[in-house]
Symmetry: D2
Subunit: 287 residues, 4 copies
């Protein structure tokens, strides 16, 4: 899946009709692009909609980014496309938010350092200082932004201002604060949260405790884009692990933390590799 | 797990205190029982409660069922036990309820015939006649009991009367009718239902459609004992299967039906092998 | 995944070079085909090789099968393609071979009857008569062909002659006979076998017994195309299930049979839906 | 699973016969022990053998370790038991061996630090210095012991002497050296190795490369006790992860490293919690 050479990736969504694939692949071919990955999907519902992710080698491709934009725009308009382009040699910048729990952060940093996650990390922000040493170990700038209930709006405004222009997307790696709508609006489909349950089960607080009380036989974790509706944004990745009557709530927390970090890492990888398209509060993952 | 020779199984639940295991194992030893399986659990909560499942060979054991009952009762009273005893040579009698869907029924019948499920099947009851040929193929008596919304109470009373004394527990193998409280009360913790979602997600109707709309990345199934609260009885078994944006609701139904039959079969096996203890609307599975 | 309307599917393999996707999608577009599914893969090894599966609606496509063949051949020659075309309205014909074990056969027949496997079943052949009633239940012609060690070659020649022209591919649903090379040669990459281990572990006889003796913690099953090297053909599908010290060899057989039927069914589905390409004794599965 | 209060755990193996459980539970009860966990297993083979793990609270138990040894020995002799006793308040000492790969080590250290693995780590030994900073970060003594092919015996003798009396068991966390028989003999069933394949598939070198070449659809990892036969010691834990034709050998390495660390951690946890009994080159895991 990791591609050694630089690639250009197009993500496209438009009403379905004949000729889209031919047009796009011709466009790439005419400018000497060599396709390395391609995936598409059409909804089979009333209004058919077409989705595509197509990657081609940057080497040999004859258009500069500006030229590509200019040359592709007429095609996009003809097919009423929503589209975006990404260059693999320009890693996305991921701002990470944490509170006190370290398991998701440590997994992200470790995978990032060994090259599994192709991204930059311009900052780690926390409402506590506990995880600062971990950030330092990986040479990532750490900033402490206290958040209090009474001053939440002002606190978040300060954070929003501080990070302005610094990050392409945000990762809430068990950040135990709810973001205000104005904050969420600033990063549409660009804030990834990990919720420690198999959504839509156990929306909200204390999912492990509630899973224990309900006596479920599997617990899970869900990575999703944050929207204004708590735990109801588009789901990117989910997984579960088996549990039984011998597991206390503390055991569920321990087992679940393994699932959380795995699921969050998957979601971040999909996002950094431009494998996610959002449509009608759901995701298409071209993995 | 299947034990070739007849066994006697005790299921015990009582307040925890020292000496329970010693007392029970002495009791078995004194009457020449040879223990083949044993499992126990203690809750670590405020009031500690002790649970045990212990199986010993019937061959060589010197007490008849009546004598066992008489000899064990004083022990049970001393420790304030809830207890039950089961003889493996007397299979439980499982009454099956179906509507039109065949996947769970076919799996139960096939496993039953090949000896995986140690039970008798005195009857299959359905509010439709579609699955009668399947019952005939396996030589299981099939009875058609129409149920209508307007006459539900009377309809269920007729069924309840008909099955009286014929079954030890009931399996709702995708029986698409809600049972009235008076019916449920007649079989406490003895009606196993399969719900086609990962409870507590998607309680109620059309879980696959709702899973599709929510865009989950896993779908599941849950086998539970029926109580008066819809889909809220003690969970016996659960499992999930992966899905993605390419799956239509019909695909989810197809994938899910595999999980449903696997989960229902597991739950039925646990029940027939006396591996389930219910406590505070949760199950302990001694598998 | 099931597509309600008839589709045409191209499977293509050729040396990688720019322009392949554009050429193919243009070809389809020029003849009014509407692409519904498309997947591709390029090896990143020294000699790059390109693989593609592309499906488009038959409705509206302006070429007859003969015309398609004539029109596409020059393209195929230009790119040195190996290619095949399949029409979804013409189901593949699957000949099934069994011996005495019923679990794989019952699963195939049940899924086939409910429409999960889009194929015809012209015959079931067995070296025993035990499963004839099962074939009759599903109205599939059953033929008894005894096979003996001493007469194996002649026995297989008779079978080969009998099935000539009747089947597009063969399914060995726990057929406990080894096929002679001349037989295998007649169906290249068109005989699907289920082996009851996680290959390459436990090649050959008695894999469950050997898994028990080795003390593995998971057992598996493998569906693969039959070649002249026992259990070494291209793997199509694999899965595993957890086991532990409490499982006897008989328990492994029981647990494993669930995995076998699931894996075999997956492999058959991939094959019938033209999702499999074979290259260098490995498969590419475009699912 | 983690038990908050100190416990004493007995591991027992002996020929099966009536009265063992009663005798042991009486012994514990008579000295005021309160059983918190108990599991047993009997082989159903020709010579029945009985295995048991039983844990009781140290608090209230009236025997000192010396007294327990003296009092239990006659019982053990009567039943021809192999037995051991472990006190949870005395963590086992785990010596870790590594080479250059960090994923298993980082997972062990992280889980150890957060209290998931109840053990002490007296040293990390490596034939390279690359991972010394990681050891320092967790304040674990790190020792560099170069090993060369020509001097292997002398090298290993020096290590063996150095660690003498310092560790109760050893963890080979991707230690890329083969241990000499004299070394293995010094730690019988006390050296845990992680092999990066699903044993017995791909015994020996380069399992990921060979998995890639064979075209398997799942890759795995196996934790086992080291014996003199390479990769043939008793298996403690195994797991797998799905892969497909898009995965290069490098992808398999990446995916597999997640399975390796999970499987190794499980095996270490079982060992530290005295949940493993070895019999006839297989393990019984009382989890």
């Amino acid at each position: 899946m990791s591609l050694s050479k630089p690639t250009i990736t197009l993500l496209i969504s438009c009403p379905d009709r004949p000729g889209i694939v031919a047009t796009i692949s011709n466009f790439i071919f005419e400018h000497s692009g060599n396709i390395v990955e391609s995936a598409q999907h059409s909804t089979n519902q009333q209004e058919c909609r077409f989705f595509m992710r197509i990657s081609f080698k940057e080497e040999g491709f004859t258009l500069t980014p500006t030229e590509l934009e200019a040359a592709f725009t007429p095609i996009a308009e003809r097919f009423y496309m929503q589209w975006s382009v990404a260059y693999s040699r320009i890693p996305k910048r991921a701002g990470i938010f944490v509170t006190k729990l370290d398991h998701c952060l440590i997994d992200l940093l470790w995978r990032w350092k060994r090259g599994e996650l192709d991204m930059d990390i311009p900052f780690i922000i926390s409402n506590h200082t506990l995880l600062e040493p971990l950030a330092q170990m990986y040479d990532v700038p750490f900033y402490h932004f206290p958040v209090a209930k009474a001053t939440r709006t002002a606190d978040e405004e300060r954070i929003l201002e501080f990070i302005s222009g610094k990050a392409d997307f945000l990762i809430l790696a068990r950040y135990m604060q709810i973001l205000e709508p104005f904050f969420v609006t600033a990063y549409p489909h660009a804030i990834i949260n990990i919720h420690h349950s198999f959504l839509p089960a156990f929306v909200g607080a204390n999912p492990y405790q509630r899973a224990f009380e309900r006596g479920v036989k599997l617990i899970g974790a869900t990575a999703h884009y944050v929207t204004d509706n708590l735990d109801e944004g588009p789901i990117i990745a989910q997984d579960v692990i088996r549990c039984d009557h011998r597991d206390s709530t503390e055991d569920l927390v321990r087992k679940g933390s393994d699932v959380e970090r795995r699921v969050l890492t998957d979601a971040v990888r999909f996002h950094t590799e431009n494998r996610v398209l959002v449509y009608e509060n759901k995701t298409l993952i071209f993995d």
